[in-house]
Amino acid sequence: MYGNQSYTGHFEKRIVMNESTTPTKYGGGGLGAWLLSFSLLMGGLSFTTTSHAEMAEGFAEGSRPSPPSAEQVEAGKRVYFTKCVWCHGVNGAGDGPGADRLWPRPRNFNAGTFKIRHTASGELPLIDVDLFQTVTHGLPGSAMPSWEGILTEDQRRDVLAFVTTELVKDRSWQDTEFEEFHVLQLETIQPVPPTAESVKRGSELVKEMKCIECHGLEGRGDGNAFNLKDDWGFSIQPADWHKCWNFRGSRQDAYNVKNIFRTFSTGVSGTPMPSFADNTTVEDRWHIANYVNHLCERDKDVDIAGGNVTDEIAAALVAAKPRAIDPLTDKPKVDFVIPSKFVEGELPADEHDERWNLVDRRIVAMGGQITHKPRNFVTRIDDVWIQSLYNETHISFMFRWDDRTKSVQKDSVDWEPYEVNLGDYGIEEQAPGGSLFADDPEHPESIAAKQTAYQVFNDGLAFQFPIKWQELPAPRKPRYFWGDEGFPVDIAKWTADGELKAYQGEGWDVDFEDRDDFTEQLKVVKAEWANGRWTVIITRPLKGDYEEDAYIELGKYIPINFFVWDGHNGDVGRKMAVSAFYYLVLEPPIEKETYIYPTLAAIGLVLVEGWILTRRANRRKGKV
């Protein structure tokens, strides 16, 4: 039916193991619980015993790693207690001092459950390949960094020797009775080329296979996003296919389709993401991988119409070029200049206007607000895409960002919209904890519990310009965080309840002042949440009151920065994601000189050429 074979196999194995070895508190139970819900979801799961003797297509028998030497384990211990223990904890239970402020949480090694593998569902990973690559390349989208260039190859292998022998407690790579290794033959399987047909077929398959139930119609991870738990009971979110650089298994090679094929074939252990190896042919897996890979943001923003991919859309997806990935961040390169282009007539009324193609979309990287209390240690929005156009009188911004949930505040709140300091109303930051809640995801103080039980506030977006930026001696700016004394900022804040207001900010701890006259001139042209993405188009006049509102001029670098709130993350007030300073530049139309001088230079060169030829000809004549 639906991944039954591997799952029942795995389930039974785990039950046996739980009897024979020390189980972790949540290891077996969590898996069983989710299996149960999975079976309910799929309308009944038949518990037939099937072993891996019937190997899924694309897999082959793998070899058991040889046990590491005692010296290696000892050397690895030194690495572990210098570098890893801070998050993964003394016993490797993912409960180090840093754990409670991280989400996703650090891995608990004890049960031997690892997400990214070449081995079949439920099996232990390959130490030399899977775990080694995880340590080498890190897990993007989590706090696990790449250790390449920091630890030598030997040190990375040593630490794995320690982790796999000492900290994985419930299972053993040397357990010949229960542990088998069926390895996906990723290097030898022939990929299906990413043609438009393949991408289109993939888009049909993700519906047939019900991928979209969790990952959403357009794959932005917005389906069923708040009800998913991992084996330990911690909340977990489906991947956003439009951000391949955040795929845990992307191995610092974001647009490589093989990583997707691997994850799809082997599943993500410990999470609701199953392996699809048993019920999907290799060819179909490639189609899906090709589709998912081509959904990842590229140079063109292709509208995939709620996942109803036509031939035309598929062709556009295939034609789009991958974005440049910054090797420092393994995320799309950030350009701190946001261009705005001139258009004749009315500014666009929606995102489908052809004129948006005139101007590049820019990615703005967002990080948690961690300067002042309440700090925001978990941001669910890590980037916003921005485009801008202007005409004689107005400027328009189109903001698009992925947000798995549309959050509109339902309950009334005690504070006024202009208040920024909400500490008195119980808006607090996550306590450091220090592993206090590691065993108990239901503990109301744990970040995992809060991930599902936040009061829902409004999603929102704001941007600020310095007021009278023309008079600031470069590079002086108002403080990035709502200005400072003597350097006020012009803030436009949109919230998901439909409000767009103009404020003046004079400091991170000072309440906003309303700028009522300017609020009337701001306009939300469109604000729509669809399939895990907000599209918000805002226009404002280029010029307001010089003393109070930023006065936007052509051809100048105007400092601007951005703030986003995710209402389902408990973001409100000062708890949000922020960006660095960017520059907005209204590109002026091309001037006449731009054509005249090059023409003069070209004419000059023709004359020089004539002179050289004549001279040469004369000299030859003279010689002859």
Partner: protein, 322 residues
């Protein structure tokens, strides 16, 4: 292909040796081709070497990319070098300019065609180049920020005034409980690759040893604070590459770099940590830095401990006043 990675700190040496090896390989190939009678003429060899260095190597190999103006300087210098090489003797110079003269004279059908084509294409190319350079370009403006501005003489944290010249980290103590930098320096991580603790079995070296006490125990407490507060930006290896490091500008300090805490006094770091970005003087861009004023989040003791952890984990000693 790890060997292809440019390694922080070794990049200039790596670049020079890579270029030298490439040129050497090219010379050997060209020499053997010449022996076989198929050598590349000097003219083309010169152009090839110049293009390889300036249009390929410096442009695509070096990361982060070097600005065009700097590449233009390299381009000019390497062009001069190549001219010196091709004009070593009168005969070599003649050989070098022969293809140019041939085209100018246009004695054969081929050179005639080339001459006509060049006469037309060169002005068009120049027009395009000039047009491009006249187009207004909006690159990010370069703003020079002082990373380590001059500290104040004193700083007031949690109501107490600290004189930076005389203050000392109260947790940098030997087993007798006395301030002892030499003792703590002896127990920082080793200096070789990985910078690991010296001996996992020695409670004086291993902060996680149950018997750890004094200095090394405070290192662990500092580390706990670091991994609850600082790693989001400064990174799990303290190398300034945390989860959000590159969403911010200026980027977080890299403590493993010899140019940050290694060349600062501990009290300077104390001042920077306590007062944060907003406490910087103007040349440090206080408006752009997201570094929190940690006095709002941590106690004085916690600040001293986290600083000690940073020195321990990177294997650096704080600079002293003498």
């Amino acid at each position: 292909m790890t060997w292809l990675k440019l390694v922080e700190g070794y990049m200039p040496m790596q670049m020079i040796s890579e270029l030298a090896v490439c040129i050497l390989v090219f010379s050997i190939i060209n020499y053997s081709l010449k022996r076989a009678g198929m050598g590349l003429p000097k003219f083309w060899a010169g152009i090839f070497v110049w293009c390889f260095v300036n249009l390929f190597y410096l442009k695509y190999r070096i990361y982060p990319p070097i600005p065009f103006s700097v590449r233009a300087i390299y381009g000019t210098v390497s062009a001069c070098g190549i001219f010196m090489w091709v004009s070593g003797s009168q005969q070599e110079w003649e050989e070098f300019k022969r293809p140019i003269i041939n085209v100018l004279d246009a004695n054969t059908g081929m050179t005639k065609f080339l001459r006509t084509a060049l006469l037309i294409l060169l002005p068009i190319g120049l027009w395009g180049f000039a047009y491009n350079s006249f187009l207004p370009s909006f690159d990010e403006p370069i703003e020079l920020r002082t990373v380590h501005p001059a500290p104040p003489a004193t700083t007031k944290v949690h109501g107490k005034t600290y004189v930076l010249q005389t203050a000392a980290n109260p947790y940098r103590i030997n087993p007798e409980g006395k301030y002892d930098q030499a003792y703590s320096n002896a127990h920082i991580v080793s200096q070789d690759m990985g910078r690991l603790m010296k001996d996992v079995k020695n409670p004086e070296d291993n902060p996680w040893d149950p018997n750890a006490k004094g200095y090394i125990k405070h290192v662990r407490e500092g580390g706990e604070i670091f991994f609850q507060n600082c790693h989001f930006c400064h990174g799990d290896n303290l190398n300034g590459r945390g989860l959000w490091a590159f969403a911010f500008n200026p980027i977080p300090a890299n403590f493993t770099d010899a140019g940050t805490i290694a060349q600062l006094q501990e009290t300077f770091v104390f001042w920077r940590v306590a007062k944060g970005g907003i406490g910087l003087p103007g040349e440090g861009f206080p408006w752009a830095s997201v570094m929190p004023p940690w006095e709002q989040h941590l106690t004085v003791d916690e600040i001293w401990k986290v600083i000690m952890f940073e020195y321990w984990h990177t294997g650096y000693y704080p600079r002293t006043w003498e």
